[in-house]
């Protein structure tokens, strides 16, 4: 049954002027890494889907939010503070790693903007994961919590300025750094990026059965 539960905000971390992480009471919610929840202010009319940012081993739920100007939900979430409650429903979704692959395979995670959320969750859930995480952003300040990733595994591709690991888009990085054809590739973020990366990976010999996608708004 769909449950809209009230969860108190425990912490709010501003990452930039418009991007922030909200940490909520978990209240016993179960989830698998990669799943998402619907979150909204307590009037309950409008909610939005957010990938869960943290690992299921932790006793809270976190989401990474970027404020959309004139949006119906994100400006309201940005105004909220510790102690306020939000509505959250059960975690759902299929963007997950197969158990049999976790210890045996190489992973390529490609994200744009807040699409990094499920990958942060994977990385925190599976400490021995063999991964490379590409994060496509416009500005250097959008390298959200990059210090939380193992050195050398997080690669920021900053399109509009210097200050990242690579100046340009994730597609340009990939063209310069072809992927091994047996890598499992997970793509999350805006659809144009996913389309372009998908084409590049196919050209590099990665089968479509090895490419998994989660399209964001």
């Amino acid at each position: 049954m769909q449950k809209f539960n009230l969860h108190k905000i425990l912490e709010k971390r501003m990452l930039t002027d418009s991007a922030f992480i909200l940490r909520f009471e978990r209240n016993g919610m179960e989830f698998e890494p990669g799943q998402h929840i619907q979150v909204g202010p307590p009037n309950g009319i409008n909610v939005r889907e957010y990938s869960i940012y943290n690992s299921p081993d932790e006793d809270y739920i976190e989401i990474l939010v970027k404020e959309v100007k004139d949006g119906l939900v994100t400006p309201a979430l940005k105004k909220m503070d510790v102690g306020d409650s939000v509505i959250i429903n059960d975690a759902v979704g299929f963007f997950s790693l197969k158990k049999e692959d976790i210890d045996n395979k190489k992973f390529l995670f490609v994200s744009s903007g807040t699409g990094i959320s499920p990958f942060h969750c994977f990385v925190k859930s599976y400490p021995n994961l063999d991964y490379t995480l590409l994060h496509g952003v416009r500005t250097a300040e959008e390298q959200y919590e990059r210090e939380k990733y193992e050195k050398g595994k997080y690669i920021s591709c900053v399109s509009r300025e210097d200050g990242g690991d690579f100046k340009g888009r994730v597609t340009e990085w990939l063209e310069k750094n072809p992927v091994n054809s047996d890598t499992l590739c997970y793509l999350c973020g805006n659809c144009d990026m996913i389309y372009d990366v998908y084409d590049i990976l196919e050209k590099q010999g990665v089968k479509s059965s090895q490419i998994f996608t989660e399209v964001y708004f």
């Binding site: 769909q2 409008n46 429903n89 979704g93 998908y198 964001y216």
Partner: protein
């Protein structure tokens, strides 16, 4: 007191409407076909496309004008997006989610309309007989220290309300509600909520009763019907296991009955479901498998969670294990960003899988769905053109399939009088439409054998060969 109900959308809405009708009947209301005669008018809304929800606005605008001249109470339920719900609150007297159906009598009584049920705290039949007199205010307010104030038992799902079946030979049974898929074009996750499976014991009980009452066609319903059981995490039958039980009951009844299901998602389809359908005669050899697009990139953008390779695998099982089965699908044309090449891939899909029928829709942005935020960059004229082209493709494929039926004898379930005077019509096990010359309305609701004499792409005509006693 009379009521009228307008039902829009899918078979799930029709199944929910049967439960609303059951409640209305128990409240003592009499059905009327004539809207103008009704004292209470309701609408079971559909939000799958803008056109569907526009119909609701049109209807309520008309009904609210009638209120200037007569007493009328209006209500709406079904699939309603949050933004529309906000607007409906100003337009309708009562809005309720199907989960709140059991409280509908209490909602209606607030308008000063008392009925045997609105005065009774519990709406199940036996209780109505016992509790015909109104509860005292003290009882209602709990001042006596007895039971709680409101004993109206809110059913978590509408399927806990016994339906008023509108047909004596075909029934639609909801077995699953809600959707977790979040396809980017779709409003259903926002109107129906998360996937919930109905207890299998209740489903099996209802199926057994219907078969015992000589129902000929039973359709199991769910927005993701083949996700049945997944939300119960091993504590309920799987969809294949449920079909196994139902198939066994139906076959062992000795009666002829066709059991269908809709609408499945390719992602959750498993080979054992198809194997089970092959095993039991009563599980109808008709598969509805929505594809939406034949292009992998479009499927990614739609967030369908499967590729064409996966879809191909499922159809492969169907062709291998159910060689006589018909195959139906749903397709959206003109989805945001759909290129000419991507559309051609969808056309190729129709030719490859040789669908007997496809429900083709032009993309309609839905508020709240992810794609609503994307630019709608396919012109309406192009959508119309693609719709026409794909429909023509489908006509050609279906015609190739039906032409092989001439001279064959097909079993039909007779469903009613045909539009063609002097004819009755129905459908085959594979849900192909057929008609034959007859004025004998006693055949409605029975199986007959018809020898096919002529065909069109989606229908056939024939001569009655045998009235089947079943």
């Amino acid at each position: 007191m009379k009521y009228h109900l307008v039902i829009l959308g899918c078979q799930m809405n029709y199944a929910d409407a049967e439960r609303v009708q059951s409640i209305m009947a128990k409240m003592g209301y009499e059905w009327t076909d004539v809207e103008e005669e009704a004292n209470v008018i309701g609408i079971i809304a559909c939000s799958v496309r803008q056109k569907a929800i526009d119909k609701v606005y049109y209807q309520i605008s008309k009904w609210n004008k009638w209120k200037n001249k007569k007493n009328l109470i209006t209500f709406a339920s079904g699939c309603i997006l949050p933004q529309d719900r906000e607007r409906f609150l100003k337009l309708f007297d009562i809005i309720f989610d199907m989960k709140e159906l059991a409280m509908f009598p209490a909602m209606l009584s607030q308008y000063g309309v008392t009925t045997p049920v609105s005065n009774s705290p519990i709406i199940y039949d036996e209780e109505i007989l016992k509790r015909a007199q109104p509860a005292t205010p003290a009882e209602k307010l709990g001042f006596t220290g007895n039971s709680q104030i409101s004993m109206v038992k809110a059913a978590p799902q509408a399927w806990e309300v016994e339906p008023l079946y509108n047909s004596s030979f075909e029934a639609f049974i909801p077995i699953q509600n809600g959707c977790n898929k979040f396809c980017t074009f779709c409003a259903v996750p926002y109107t129906r909520g998360r996937e919930v499976s109905r207890p299998s014991v209740d489903i099996i009980d209802e199926v057994e009763k219907l078969i015992a009452h000589d129902y000929k066609s039973i359709t199991l319903l769910g927005q993701n019907v083949n996700s049945y059981g997944l939300d119960k995490k091993g504590e309920e039958l799987s969809f294949a296991q449920l079909l196994e039980k139902i198939g066994e009951i139906a076959d062992n009844s000795g009666k002829e009955v066709w059991i269908y299901f809709t609408s499945p998602h390719p992602r959750d389809m498993t080979r054992d479901v198809i194997e089970t359908i092959a095993k039991y005669r009563s599980l109808a050899k008709q598969i509805h498998l929505p594809v939406q697009s034949g292009d992998d990139k479009v499927l990614i953008k739609m967030n369908r969670k499967h590729s064409m390779e996966r879809y191909d695998e499922v159809v492969g099982w169907v062709r291998e294990l159910l060689p006589t089965a018909t195959l139906f699908t749903d397709i959206i044309v003109g989805f945001t960003g759909e290129t000419d090449e991507q559309f051609e891939n969808t056309r190729a899909t129709v030719r490859k899988y040789r669908y007997n029928m496809a429900y083709v829709a032009m993309y309609s942005p839905r508020p709240g769905a992810a794609s609503y935020a994307w630019e709608e960059d396919i012109d309406h004229e192009i959508k119309k053109e693609r719709h026409a082209i794909l429909t023509e493709d489908l006509n050609e494929v279906a015609a190739e399939l039906t032409k092989d039926l001439v001279g064959e004898t097909m079993r039909l379930l007779v469903r009613g009088k045909d539009r063609k005077e002097g004819y009755l019509s129905g459908h085959t096990e594979g849900r192909l439409v057929g008609r034959f010359a007859s004025d004998d309305e006693s055949l409605i609701g029975t199986f007959v054998d018809v020898k096919v004499t002529s065909v069109r792409p989606f229908s056939m005509e024939g001569e009655l060969v045998k009235e089947v006693v079943s």
